[in-house]
Symmetry: C2
Subunit: 404 residues, 2 copies
Amino acid sequence: MFKGALPGFRDFYPQELAERAHIMRIWREVARRYAFVEYDGPPLEPLDLYTKKSGDEIVGQLYNFVDKGGREVALRPEMTPTVARMVAARANALRKPVRWFSMPQLFRYERQQKGRLREHYQLNVDLFGTSDIAADAELVACAVDMMRAFGLESSDVVVRVSDRRILHAFLRSLGVAEEAIGGVYGVIDKLERTPAQVSGEKLAALGVPAQAIERIITIASVTFDEVQARIGASSAAEQVEEFARFLRYVPALLGGDARWLQLDLSIVRGLAYYTGIVFELFDRSGEFRAICGGGRYDNLLKSLGGADMPALGFGMGDVVLGELLRSRGLMKPESTAADVWLGAAESVPLEQVMAEAARRRGAGESVEYALRTQSMSKQRKAAQASGAREFVDLSNDGNDGRNG
Amino acid sequence: MFKGALPGFRDFYPQELAERAHIMRIWREVARRYAFVEYDGPPLEPLDLYTKKSGDEIVGQLYNFVDKGGREVALRPEMTPTVARMVAARANALRKPVRWFSMPQLFRYERQQKGRLREHYQLNVDLFGTSDIAADAELVACAVDMMRAFGLESSDVVVRVSDRRILHAFLRSLGVAEEAIGGVYGVIDKLERTPAQVSGEKLAALGVPAQAIERIITIASVTFDEVQARIGASSAAEQVEEFARFLRYVPALLGGDARWLQLDLSIVRGLAYYTGIVFELFDRSGEFRAICGGGRYDNLLKSLGGADMPALGFGMGDVVLGELLRSRGLMKPESTAADVWLGAAESVPLEQVMAEAARRRGAGESVEYALRTQSMSKQRKAAQASGAREFVDLSNDGNDGRNG
């Protein structure tokens, strides 16, 4: 007898496929409105594409192996190295800014936990070749517009946004030493999941001045006014001004809706490679993990040995988003049922039913019918079970009305 | 510097992605009209899913490895074992006939030749739980309707169709011994690529009577009249009658168009598991490999240890089809360019452009604009390079007309 799929891998029966297709349709539709164009790369890549960016530790989480040609290869755990490779290969030919999106299936060998998957689909939306802060705003607005297209509102979802450069200047202004910054980022990244006392001890151990510790532990509550007051006239003045523009641009791109955005300097996003604005989308109830995260990573392409090109992007997975939509009653995939079920009395030759099916299919309708001559009651039952929108009885002279 | 993709793997830049999307859109649209519903499975499966069906020889062509949990796994080289597994798991709950399609990416470690790929996308369309010959006709008509939807005509493509049971009876009627049938299938499968003399010698070695050898070597020319004359009154009479119905049903499903179908008893389709009608679609010029192939495989699910359920299906890959469409000037992907490029004089604040972008995007238009204030000539150049359908100058009072 068959075993099922591998642990952590999903079968997509028609119902699940329809839900996946619903998510992808909205992703694609909104990305298109923002003039992003779709690309894709191979699901299998040379292993060193990932170790180059993330170091050898990543290998512990990879589906990696040696192929029959002796190449070290891995199933892609993320899309950024692939897109960096592809952009670098055509850095000069591509029109700037490059506005690309993709919806790859990604693979990680996670330690197995209940419901923890080893594959997921992740929308990746990226811009390459622009340093303008308007690009950061476009990216955030695009993510928010996707939420709106799914039927979510600003009462459901919040965009928490920070800026690496502002956080840096803010921490420096609190008296954090330059060499402690990386360590403090690490503490801030874990604030939400760590008791305040433990975080305080860690900050003290990093040499953070006592009077700064409390402000760092509650850094999520820092307002933009406080940022301006503290570093608006410092050497980071330009970044603060740019951030202020960002805070105006996003609502402008959302038709004047300013309710989605929330400054939150505690958003660090573990990844070392972010250089500017970083953001994450969360459900306001705090029930789920982040829906989406991204930011600016201007140095990554160069550090990977590719083109020296500013870049920014976000990723949005199908799993957390799907859970959120289902919990809100917003998972509404298109019906997979046929438009029409054609029935006919046993006296009607099957070719006649087929000819009518051909006519309707030619006009774009989806049509099912019994593949053999059978009683009308059997046909009606089959039609009803199929969920087809309409039952047409060819024995009569035309349409028999709604099915069911 | 980056290396490229692995040998035999494709990067899909926007142009190539648009072509892939064009193919998939037509596949999906026509499958839907025939009331097939989409499913998918994991690209990584337990290795024994494939060895069980195809024996251990298949391993030489697989991307297989041991995962971090010690499981023998493989990238899927075909979809049939996955769909057989999925159908078997819900054999009782699924409405019959099951009408499913999928468009998986498949992987084979082929010995590398120029242009030979190691991955491709393959449409799989299958029916489970029906023995009716109308199902076979539906399947062939669906494949043909896809050709028509791509703009191909019956002067471009032919469906060569055979039936395992008829071929068997025909060969028996020529005096081929039962135990030689398998060997004769093998010779017939290779007829096109083998000199007639060599085939003749092989047939003789299999004990085929001398007077039958010539008819087998030219078996592709056997007409249905000859089939009827030779075995229409034999123990295979029922199969011949059923095949006659099939030959009427397919044109009925194509709106009366009988030009696509050609009886060709030389179509064997290597695979041992076919049990009834088998077919392949070819371009009539003979320039390309088969576009599509399939047939009935009533015993496969049972032999894999799954449900005992009649089944039939076809596969159609994106590579040969794509080559054919390009060679005929029929590869016509949708444009990826934006609908509108918004321009504005340097005096217009960026927020104003953004507000107009928001309005238009909200109405479903795809909109691009300069992410910084810049001269109108730069903006016009950028718009033109983007290929956007329309350039709208917000400095004026509205629409500036077509772009370019």
